[in-house]
Structures are given as structure tokens and as C-alpha cells.
């Protein structure tokens, strides 16, 4: 017998979306700061740093795709909408959040990172585009 999908299960999806997107915002910013520091110090072979930046961008897009895929599933999307309505949130908030993060991830993926200087410049642009996540306590 199938388990009836209940509010606890629906809320789990909301929590996962929140964890994924908030943590992704933190990862993108923190990683960009790390790229810049290592580019300026030239502490890592250029090719290695380039590969890491590209791989990270690919992983960001993969994580965002989870949300996109969820919304493409009519049943799951409706359950998401039900829970969002209960909480008083709108789907558009999630869509906007995903879009903004995706724009940064695509920008990182396609950026000119052919030199350490360019990597530092790209990192600056990412840090400017992605604010720190709000927190009640210092992080």
C-alpha cells in the first residue's frame, strides 16, 4: 500500500529547496573568494584552478537543475504549490532565486579564465553579484 503523501513529506521538499539554494549561494560566494585568493597567490597551477572553476560551475548548474526538474513534474509541482500556499510564500520567489543563481553559474562557466588576472576579475564579479546569506549570528 502506498504511503499517502502528507504535509510532512511536502515540507521536506521545501526544506531541501531551502537548504540547497541557500547553501549554493554561500558556496558560490565562498568559492569565488577562494579562487581570487589562489589566483593572486598563484599557489595553484593555472590549469588546475581553471578546471576547478569549470567543475564547480557545472556542479552549481546540476544543483539548480534539481529545482527545475521538480517544477517540470506536474504532481510534485502541485504539492510544492500547496505547501508554499500554506506557508504564505510564492513560487515566483523560488523561480527568481534559481534564475539569479543560474545566471551567475552560467557566467562562471562561460567566463574568460585564461590567466590568473582574469580569474581574479571574474571572482570579483561573482562576489559582487552574490551577497552573503543573511544570518542571525556572525558566520
Amino acid at each position: 500500500m502506498a504511503i499517502t503523501i502528507n504535509s510532512l513529506q511536502k515540507r521536506r521538499i521545501i526544506n531541501q529547496i531551502e537548504t540547497n539554494l541557500v547553501q549554493l549561494q554561500r558556496d558560490i560566494r565562498t568559492n569565488a573568494l577562494s579562487y581570487k585568493a589562489r589566483a593572486q597567490a598563484q599557489s595553484l597551477p593555472l590549469a588546475r584552478l581553471q578546471a576547478e572553476i569549470t567543475a564547480d560551475a557545472s556542479e552549481y548548474l546540476r544543483r539548480l537543475q534539481w529545482v527545475i526538474d521538480l517544477r517540470a513534474d506536474a504532481g510534485k509541482r502541485q504539492r510544492l504549490l500547496d505547501m508554499l500556499a500554506t506557508a504564505g510564500w510564492s513560487e515566483q520567489e523560488i523561480v527568481t532565486y534559481v534564475t539569479e543563481l543560474r545566471d551567475v553559474a552560467v557566467g562562471q562557466r562561460d567566463a574568460n579564465i585564461s590567466t590568473y588576472t582574469r580569474i581574479a576579475n571574474v571572482s570579483d564579479a561573482i562576489v559582487t553579484a552574490v551577497d552573503p546569506v543573511d544570518s542571525l549570528w556572525p558566520e
Partner: protein
């Protein structure tokens, strides 16, 4: 990929070696160092232990639950090498873990290690001083794209200091490795020094070996692929390498100094050996077939051999091409007039030989 995870409590406690990053016990998903990973819960504990040992062993995460695992996302299915250090530099702790291909266990570890000792992926136990040079890997062909390090006991604390995943088939700053990709994928072997690496790609993929110094590398690509050897530092280059490309592919060896490289291409492909203006090509072989182009270009080309067939072009370009073979076509194609003249010449030679033989027989008979 070649990514190591160093488990500890504080990110800045030590400097992570090249190719590694840290986990402070954060919940999945975290993306860092080119990989996505994390614990199945944020209810794990971590400690910083020592800054005077290998940074990979400087700290730990410890758990005591059979429902907790560390998840590491793989870029694709395939063969991966897994390295680990189960242990704690500061105290004795449990090593009850399993390595899993998602839900399938492929390695089980039991018992415990005393302070300052670490268990590798083959269950050997080494001191903190000996683990870096002695630890062994376990190789697994993954059917899933999820590696899990699963805690296997609820009794006592079970510790992990380091986990490293290399694959599919290698790369990074290791001394040898293999990378392969299929479809719209990219295989990259990159590092400060690649003493041996192999990369292959199919479909619309790209295979790249890039580093300050590439001692030996073999790359092959098929379809709309690109195979590239690239020495990025002017002081170093490609000492030897073999590249092959098929279809609409490109094979290129680019470096300040290319001591020896061979590139071949077929179909509508391009093969290139290119030494920068500060270096040159000491020896190289390039061949192309079909609608291909083979080019050897450098400030100095000491020796290069090139051959082309079909509608191909082979070119040696350099300020000092002291011993570069003249590009030639080897497809056997000749104008009809030349073929007819050669055939007539052969016929004439046959007639002369026959007359001479008959003349000799007549003389002997007379």
C-alpha cells in the same frame, strides 16, 4: 576528477594541499573543489587535531550512527580509485565504516586504530608519518554516481580524516592517470606535472592534458572532439605525447618546447604541433588523412616528419625549419597523362627485353 576531502573542524586550521578541500561536517549538498558532497545530516561532530602532521590528517569528523553517511557525487559512472584515512591523531577511535556504490557495499572496515594511526582503503594501518607515502587505494567500477562512506556502528565514535576520489580513470596532479569522456563531456588531466596521463573522448567531448610540464601523455578523440596537449608555462612544455583525432576532430600539441610529439588525424580533422615563439619543436610526427590538415609550427623546428593523404595538407612553418620534410601527398593519385606515359614506358621496356631474349636464343641455336 581528482578531489580529496580533508575532514576537520575549522576551515583555516591548515592549508589544504592541491587537489583537496575540506569538510567541516556540513550537510549535503556542498560544492567545493570541483565536487559536490556532504553528510546526510548536520548532526556530526568534528575536531581539529594537529598542524604538525600531513594536512590531510589534521582533523576528523566522527559519528556514531548507522543512519549517517558521507555522500560524494561522481561526475559519471565508471572506474574510480578511492583513498582514505580512517583514524584520529589524538586518540583511539573506531573504524567501523563501509564504502558504498550508492547502496551497494564494496569495502568494509572494522576495528579501531590507536592515536596517531590511520587505516587506508585496503585496511592497512599506518602511522601519520607513513600514511602519506604508503596508503593504498581501492578501485571500484561504479554503477551509480554516488559514493557513500557509511558509518556501520552505533557503539563508540567512528572517525574519518581523509577521503580522496580519482576518476573516472584519473588525472589531476597525480603522476599517472586516465580520463575518458563520452557524449558532450570533457575529460581533463591537469596539474603542475603530468608525468603520464591518458585521456580519451568520444562524441562532442574534449580530452585535454594541461600542465606546466607534461612528460608523456596520450590522448585520443573521436567524433566532434578535441584532443589537446598544452604546456602552459613558458619554461616547460610537452616532452612527449601522442594524439589522435577522428571525424571532425582536432588534435593539437601546444607548448613552449615540444621535445617529441606525434599527432594523427583522419576525416575532416586537424593535427597541429605548435611551439611558441620562445621555444620550438625538436622532433615530431604528424599525419593526416581525408580532408585533414597537419601543421607543425614553431620558432625552431629541428626535425619534423609529416605525411598527408587524400585532400590533405601538411605544412611545416618556422623561422628555422632546419630539417622538416617536404610535405607530400601519399595517396597514389597521379594525372592520367603521367600514368599513361609510365605504362607506355613499361610496355616499351618489356618489348625490348623480349626481343633481346629471343635474339640471344637464336644466336645460341645458330
Amino acid at each position: 576528477m581528482d578531489v580529496g576531502i580533508n575532514f576537520r573542524q575549522t576551515s583555516g586550521y591548515v592549508t589544504d594541499p592541491v587537489g583537496t578541500t575540506y569538510s567541516l561536517g556540513g550537510a549535503y549538498p556542498e560544492t567545493r573543489g570541483g565536487a559536490t558532497f556532504g553528510w546526510s545530516t548536520n548532526l556530526v561532530s568534528s575536531r581539529d587535531r594537529s598542524t604538525s602532521i600531513d594536512p590531510r590528517l589534521a582533523g576528523i569528523v566522527f559519528v556514531s550512527s548507522t543512519t549517517i553517511n558521507f555522500r560524494f557525487d561522481l561526475p559519471s559512472t565508471g572506474s574510480y580509485d578511492v583513498y582514505q584515512a580512517l583514524g584520529d591523531n589524538a586518540s583511539a577511535n573506531g573504524n567501523e565504516w563501509t564504502l558504498r556504490d550508492d547502496t551497494t557495499t564494496f569495502a568494509t572496515f572494522t576495528g579501531s586504530t590507536t592515536a596517531g594511526n590511520f587505516r587506508d582503503a585496503q585496511a592497512n594501518v599506518y602511522s601519520a608519518a607513513n600514511w602519506p607515502g604508503s596508503n593504498q587505494k581501492v578501485t571500484r567500477t561504479f554503477g551509480s554516481t554516488i559514493l557513500r562512506l557509511q558509518c556501520n556502528s552505533v557503539i563508540g565514535n567512528h572517525v574519518v580524516a581523509h577521503l580522496r576520489v580519482v576518476g573516472p580513470s584519473g588525472g589531476g596532479s597525480t603522476e599517472s592517470g586516465d580520463a575518458s569522456s563520452a557524449g558532450a563531456a570533457t575529460a581533463i588531466a591537469a596539474g603542475a606535472s603530468l608525468s603520464a596521463s591518458a585521456a580519451s573522448s568520444t562524441g562532442t567531448g574534449a580530452a585535454t592534458a594541461a600542465g606546466a610540464s607534461i612528460a608523456a601523455a596520450a590522448l585520443s578523440s573521436a567524433g566532434a572532439s578535441t584532443a589537446t596537449l598544452e604546456g602552459t608555462e613558458l619554461s616547460a612544455g610537452v616532452e612527449s605525447g601522442a594524439l589522435s583525432a577522428a571525424g571532425s576532430a582536432t588534435a593539437a600539441a601546444v607548448g613552449a618546447s615540444i621535445a617529441a610529439a606525434a599527432a594523427s588525424s583522419t576525416g575532416s580533422s586537424t593535427s597541429t604541433l605548435e611551439g611558441t615563439t620562445t621555444g620550438g619543436i625538436e622532433s615530431g610526427d604528424i599525419s593526416s588523412a581525408g580532408a585533414s590538415t597537419a601543421t607543425s609550427a614553431g620558432a625552431t623546428i629541428a626535425a619534423a616528419a609529416m605525411s598527408s593523404a587524400g585532400a590533405s595538407t601538411a605544412t611545416a612553418v618556422g623561422a628555422d625549419a632546419s630539417a622538416a620534410t617536404t610535405p607530400t601527398r601519399h595517396d597514389g593519385w597521379l594525372p592520367h597523362s603521367v600514368i599513361a606515359r609510365r605504362r607506355r614506358q613499361l610496355d616499351d621496356e618489356d618489348v625490348v627485353a623480349l626481343v633481346a631474349m629471343l635474339d640471344q636464343e637464336w644466336r645460341e641455336a645458330a
